[in-house]
Amino acid sequence: MGRPQIIASAVDNPDRTRGWTSWITTTDHKKIGIMYLATVLVFFILGGVEALLIRTQLAVPDNTLLTPERYNQILTMHGTTMVFLVVVPVWAGFANYLLPLMLGARDVAFPRLNAWSYWMYLFGGIALYASMLYSPPEAGWFSYVPLSLKQYSGTNGQEAWIYMVHLTGLSSIIGAINFIATIHNMRAPGMGWGRMPLFVWTILIYAYLVIVALTSLAATVTMLLLDRNFGTGFFDPAQGGSALLWQHLFWFFGHPEVYILVLPAFGVFSEILPVFARKPIFGYKAIAAATVGIAFLGMLVWAHHMFATPMSTTVLAFFMLMSFVIAVPTGVKIFNWIATLWRGTVEWTTALLYCVGGIATFTMGGITGIFLAVFPIDWQLTDTYFVVAHFHYTAFGASAFAMIAALYFWWPKMTGRMLSEKLGKVGFALMFIGFHTTFLIQHSAGLSGMPRRIYEYSETSWTWYNFVSTIGAFMIALSVAVTVVGVVWSLKRGAIAGPDPWKANTLEWFTPSPPPENNFDVVPRVRSVEPMKDIRREIEQRTNAEQRYRSGQPMLH
């Protein structure tokens, strides 16, 4: 009791912050962040169920569980859901919650616009899933023309898809403008560019990429809408349009999108590793610079998704080389994370394990990416299960692992309660083993000639690969169930967290858990990348009372 609590404020106004109306009318970035994350969880489970249906259908040859029509609808919904309704908005959710807290601000720059972003995202998702009631889209999440044109996809599911892209795209763009305005203008005194948390760095770059990529996509899907309903013929070869134009425009969005998914995940790794290694991040400037480099190069690699289309060798060679070059800043980040652990005192918390597991998995996705970047090898491997494996290693390995790491790490801040570490570790083991069981063997399926997006196969040499993969998918599902149980349990019975349970470094831990509506009554002056370390030291000096926790040493509960 004698030791002072390190918090900024404990004042709260209960009338304004309770009841369900406070949620739907809120402009508080924290509530909006939580609504984002809750919605993401719902879509994540829907997308996961779709994945399980796909894996169950493919578990054995000549399966008749799903019709070809139903299968194509499910694979389209799975891809679309995971990309547009899960891994992009999940970072909008975390950024919403954390950005102002990390910056020492009281909210984002435009709180009402922020609420609008959320509602557009929600209704975009509902628009897509409403098509489940009549006929879902079935041309894949990439909606290649001419297959997605009216002649070949006659149902209105494609319109639902376009409408969803428009709504969630606008949501992301407006959200991105909000983040950029907040980061540029609302940092705590003393927080120069070189003292900004790395998660904030990655959100800043994420936001710029969203503006470049999603505006382009909005124009592209508008052209598709016009082609389908107003006879414009941008993409219809019969009317002088080009089927390849769609692919170029789509991947001009699609590849930056990949980095929109993973850069914030890199930010999460860069925040959590130093906390539990009890070391400063290794090479702060290199990591921030690598983020900028990846984003810039990420806009110059789109055609590596199209190596098998008719293109000249010059184009092929350019996109191969750019894809190689982007591996360098990505490698730099991985080396820096390893160096952060090196000579630290690494506490094996669930959040840290998810980070290290995510990095290990992402690294393998990066290595298989080298194979795919070499275009003659890509001619053999593209559109096979090798590619399915590759991008799940990168997108799932980075984004999904980081998403759960972030959940375990920031849950105490959001709710004031801890998640169970025991359940967390069980969940992690299931997730890590389940993931690699599902996807490692898919490389072999692809190398043996199994193409993507087939609803059935008769080739018995693929049976074993597919059966094992299906078992893995159910392990992942079990892991997600364990996490959900842990979350529900923690809400009622989790240990009380206190303001700073991890002894972390960034400003959000200066507030009570959960933080009051105005976040900070007093905004501290920032003197380094690790302001909480400075604050702890200062209090120790001022009060002359020795703190229980010493910087640089493990907590060991």
Binding site: P68, N72, A139, V145, P146, L147, Y152, A243, R278, K279, F282, G283, Y284, A286, A308, T309, P310, M311, S312, T313, A317, M320, F324, A327, V332, F335, I338, L341, R343, G344, T345, E347, W348, V356, A360, T363, M364, I367, T368, I370, F371, V374, F375, P376, I377, W379, Q380, T382, D383, T384, S444, L447, S448, G449, P451, R453, I454, G552, Q553, P554
Partner: protein, 302 residues
């Protein structure tokens, strides 16, 4: 110290041993770790390129993942331990950035050494009459969509993807069309002009090399040359199968393609038979139509 050196040697030896084991039985491992090949020189070159990248990748994999795991276990928190407060090391960081560049430079050089043998059709091993050719001159290299033509005889087949079948147009006056099964003479360089009539498809026979998309409005190029010894002893043909690799609609999974290699004499016989069959079928249809119209006109008279 010697223990550390031994451990390092062991770490180095591990991937090497793995590579050796894998290379010793490449045929057995095809599909599990390496792409399919064996039906055409370009497929074999892709396989070689893949193996080269695979060896390099194995070292990167063991190095990076090994160090990561090592750091996780070796520096696990203990009571009383203090973490070294290091912020960075410029020399080290420049070093690994350059290191990554050098590895990728290696792969780039590998790729461009192998590329011509994958992209440019090799000349045929036989002439139009099935006689062996001895002098071989590779063609000139030009762009991928505008591939070179090798010296000597070649055979060009127009591949057309349609929901959900492949159609092939053979060279010659007869305008012979077949579906799903493409029959070619072994030893002959076959050039493919690939396009589609409706949606995007992708032509792929794994053992014959890479795939190329069939995009309506565009012509894509690919080639293969089945080795004459691919036909098993005592048999007349060799069959390679594959299926469409680009989502083309509900029956995408059932859009198969087969390439059947025959000796020149057998091919010529097959071709002549096929043309004859079509001609007979055409005359049959014409006669039936004639009969039908006659019957109809007779019926009208009554």
């Amino acid at each position: 110290m010697s223990e550390g050196r031994n451990r390092r040697r062991l770490l180095l030896a591990l991937p090497l041993a793995l590579v050796a084991a894998l290379l010793a039985a490449p045929a057995a491992r095809a599909g599990l770790l390496f792409p399919e090949s064996g039906g055409s020189p370009n497929a074999d070159s892709i396989h070689t390129l893949y193996v080269m990248v695979f060896i390099l990748a194995l070292f990167i994999f063991v190095g990076v993942e090994g160090t990561l795991l090592w750091a996780l276990f070796k520096f696990k928190a203990k009571k009383g331990a203090t973490a070294a407060q290091i912020h960075g090391n410029t020399k080290l960081e420049i070093g690994w950035t350059l290191g990554a560049f050098v590895i990728l430079l290696f792969i780039t050089v590998f790729t461009f050494i192998q590329l011509p043998s994958i992209k440019n059709p090799k000349p045929s091993l036989i002439d139009e009459n099935g006689r062996e050719l001895t002098a071989q001159v590779d063609g000139m290299q030009v762009a991928a969509t505008n591939q070179s033509t090798p010296k000597g005889p070649t055979m060009t087949i127009e591949v057309n993807g349609q929901q959900y079948v492949w159609r092939y147009l053979y060279p010659g006056q007869d305008q012979l069309l077949t579906y799903t099964d493409m029959v070619v003479p072994v030893g002959m360089t076959v050039l493919l002009d690939i396009t589609a009539d409706d949606v995007v498809h992708s032509w792929w026979i794994p053992k014959l090399g890479g795939k190329m998309d069939a995009v309506p409005g565009y012509t894509n190029k690919l080639w293969f040359r089945i080795p004459p010894d691919a036909i098993p002893e005592g048999q007349k043909q060799v069959v390679y199968t594959g299926q469409c690799a680009e989502l083309c609609g509900r029956n995408h999974a059932n859009m198969y393609g087969r390439v059947i290699g025959m000796r020149m004499a057998d091919y010529k016989k097959w071709y002549a038979d096929k043309v004859q069959q079509l001609k007979t079928a055409e005359t049959d249809v014409a006669e039936q139509q004639k009969k039908l119209t006659e019957q109809e006109s007779q019926g009208g008279d009554e």
